[in-house]
Symmetry: C2
Subunit: 470 residues, 2 copies
């Protein structure tokens, strides 16, 4: 195990040293792939478990579709194939046999879901149909980093079809709101929420909605997206259903996804120079009880602790010599609370609580350590993590009037708010000039005809957030 | 929905019509792939959930490794690559760029696990290391059928390394025993358990242990396998650890897997001409409560039923007109018990219980329907399913002395027991002649020097089971 690099010395090396020291992943044999080690995968499983409850509450049914798609099928939706074509893994051979119609390893599964909807949705009675798949997808990436950008990544992709246009559009808004709530409440990360500009939209979508989190290095991380696909895919794949009046109408479609990138956001948002810091609700181990191996496993003290921790995820470590090494290891793993039960504590009938976020120790009597006390502790921990990211985000936003101010703010690692009325071409130009991209805009804002774009000087501008992004 | 084909008329069409009518899967866009629909996937999720508990009880940690493996890495273990080469999906292009070292979509993950063990196992303190991955693997197949043989299939693959040879070997036996127990107890299917002969072994294994289930058409289905890999991979991938005496020794390795094939075994073992019949323990819906939509959702009757069904998976269907259509749909889906609460039942303070296995209806008073009654019902249901498959298996085995008897028994759809001392070449010859293969043999049997092989007439034969197989 190598030492953790200091965040202030080299942010990027700090990030990878956290991953290495907390034993989250190894690099795979193929460039840009990662191997989830048990602890790293346990974090993703906790996210899955909790977010799946939300999906189920939204009447989402779980399916599992093939990884491979014929290239010819992929080509049917023009914008979709243009958006993904440079990034595709293509299968040309089965055994020794060369394929005439090459196969694509899915970069996303709109096409499989269209195939499913075409076969299974016959009439208005079958709508809406809301499905989700947990799996992995593949996109060729040049500059890869664990979690943040990998050629294969894990995610959930929800795909839905509706009879009613407004119902579909509203559902895509519902989903981005659900992502925001989940990331706020379960991962304790504040985010910007908004709509994507033309160039940043999903290939084949009419609207893409996004949540974006600010990392301590001033770069922004797109954390989840929800797309209103309109009838773009429905037209290309002939997705029609029989209406009440026996007509055949096109279905309206949405898709939405949250990926293992979010683990990158968790690491960067909360961790420090002593290791990982995990949000309480998705930590695989929420409480570590660290005690001497001389303590009886059935002792009254432990029994009382277990009783109070009922319903939480805890693990007990019976340590041979000094507790220090175990405490340090648990600290690197980002376990939210360590309950220390050393000789001194047992003698005095107390318990020492170590909080990972503040790194504060608190010695309290056994009597005080009750369920009420624990609940408050958890609330404090979660709010403390969230408030830090909210403060970071809010204090980072800077309004600019022109490109010089824009560049200066960017140098100061700010998120920029500016009036914008550029098109996709202008977005590309700005990116070339500054490496920053439009992240999102408030879709509810009224466009002020008198406001001019800071970049193109064209009128009808709206306020858009810009930043450098992961 | 098409009608269910009669099993006695065409077994193979019966099988696919069950899958279609119970809404388990659709065919994927790529030949030989399947799309798990919500109900089909729910069955696999139940199997995952229950078998995962067993894996955890065996100290197995969960990981998730990449789908892609460089072909050059794959070639390092000679027997392994020879065994899988004709079946590999190869990726030749990333976007438009041709790859020098092609990638293989994993047909199994020994190589990824070897990569993990090499990086993470340093000393005897790190051993044993027992890992599992739930995921999908790819093998090119010519004749494909849903669940039974598909080019992409879902499975769990457990991989483990040990310092001690005997411990590794014993663990591979433990695993095949665990599979037998699981398939017996959770899926209510009787199996033969034994070791594979040379030609049927996993590519790269010293020993392969298997469980084999008999289908009603006389064909046998390999239902799970456990492999003792010895040091074959350890030598090729240089998997060494530091011993207590500071030497560097090779690790001993095992792997074991259970796949979605088992769903094919469940369907064929239990179902009938009225649809799917599911084993109680893995049925996504164990009890269907079918009642009129005039019944109050908070009625005392329903509350009493829910209380008694606490801990089981149940769903209530409030039906508009006659209950018949809903009962039939639930029957096709193989729901073990339907609790009918029609007008008559409510008037008389009774409940009608419909059992999917026997198709018997039983009207009992509300008072009788208590937890004890339910437990007994479940026990009866599960034993009934298991006993039928056990009887089928036991009555099918026939001992033969020569090839003529062998062929005749095979025509009568028997599993054959015969003395065998052939080698891999002889196995191939027998298969060409009869289409039957050696399925397994009791690894504990003492070889009788005087017994001669029914096929080669060579001495030192042991009793081996033969059958046609899926």
């Amino acid at each position: 195990m190598s030492k953790i690099v200091k965040q202030e010395e080299n942010f990027s090396k700090w990030y990878t040293s956290i991953i290495e020291n907390a034993n989250l992943v190894d690099y795979g044999l193929v460039k840009g792939t990662i191997m989830f080690k048990p602890y790293g995968f346990a974090i993703w499983k906790r996210i899955q478990e909790e977010f799946n409850k939300i999906l189920v509450s939204l009447n989402t049914a779980e399916v599992c579709f093939p990884m491979l798609i014929p290239y010819s099928e992929f080509m049917k939706e023009k914008e979709h194939v243009e958006g993904f074509n440079p990034e595709l893994f293509k299968v040309s051979h089965l055994g020794e046999k060369k394929l005439e119609d090459e196969l694509v390893i899915r970069p996303t599964s709109e096409i499989s879901f269209c195939n499913y909807f075409k076969k299974n949705i016959k009439s208005y009675n079958d709508l809406p149909c809301i499905l989700n798949q947990w799996g992995s997808v593949f996109r060729v990436e040049k500059n890869t980093r664990p979690f943040l950008r990998t050629s294969e990544f894990l995610w959930q992709e929800q795909h839905a079809v509706f009879a009613d246009k407004k119902e579909a559009f509203d559902f895509s808004i519902t989903m981005v709101n659900e992502y925001k709530k989940f990331v706020n409440d379960y991962l304790s990360i504040a985010v910007l929420m908004g709509e994507k500009t033309e160039n940043e939209r999903f290939a084949g979508a009419d609207n893409t909605f996004t949540i974006e989190a600010l990392m301590p290095d001033g770069q922004v991380l797109q954390s989840a997206t929800s797309h209103y696909l309109g009838t773009n895919f429905a037209k290309s794949y002939d997705l029609k259903y029989q209406t009440k009046n026996n007509n055949y109408d096109l279905m309206f479609q949405t898709s939405a996804g949250l990926s293992t990138r979010i683990i990158g956001a968790i690491i960067m948002s909360h961790s420090d120079n002593n290791g990982l810091v995990l949000p309480f609700k998705i930590a695989p181990i929420q409480f570590a009880i660290v005690t001497s191996n001389e303590v009886n496993k059935d002792s009254d003290e432990l029994k009382a602790i277990y009783k109070n921790l009922f319903g939480y995820k805890y693990q007990t470590y019976f340590v041979e010599k000094s507790l220090g090494l175990q405490l340090q290891e648990n600290e690197i793993k980002g376990i939210p609370f360590q309950l220390i039960l050393g000789k001194k504590e047992i003698e005095n009938n107390t318990i020492t609580i170590y909080r990972r976020d503040t790194r504060e120790k608190q010695n309290i009597s056994f009597k005080e350590f009750n369920q009420n006390f624990i609940e408050n502790l958890i609330k404090e921990y979660s709010s403390n993590l969230f408030n830090k990211t909210e403060k970071r985000l809010n204090s980072s936003i800077e309004f600019v009037n022109n490109i010089d101010e824009f560049k200066k703010a960017l140098d100061n690692k700010k998120i920029i708010s500016a009036y914008w009325s550029g098109n996709a071409e202008d977005e590309k130009k700005l990116k070339e000039l500054t490496t920053a991209t439009p992240r999102c805009f408030d879709w509810n804002q009224k466009i002020d005809k008198t406001k001019k774009c800071f970049f193109t000087n064209k009128p009808n501008a709206k306020l858009v957030y810009f930043a450098r992004a992961y």
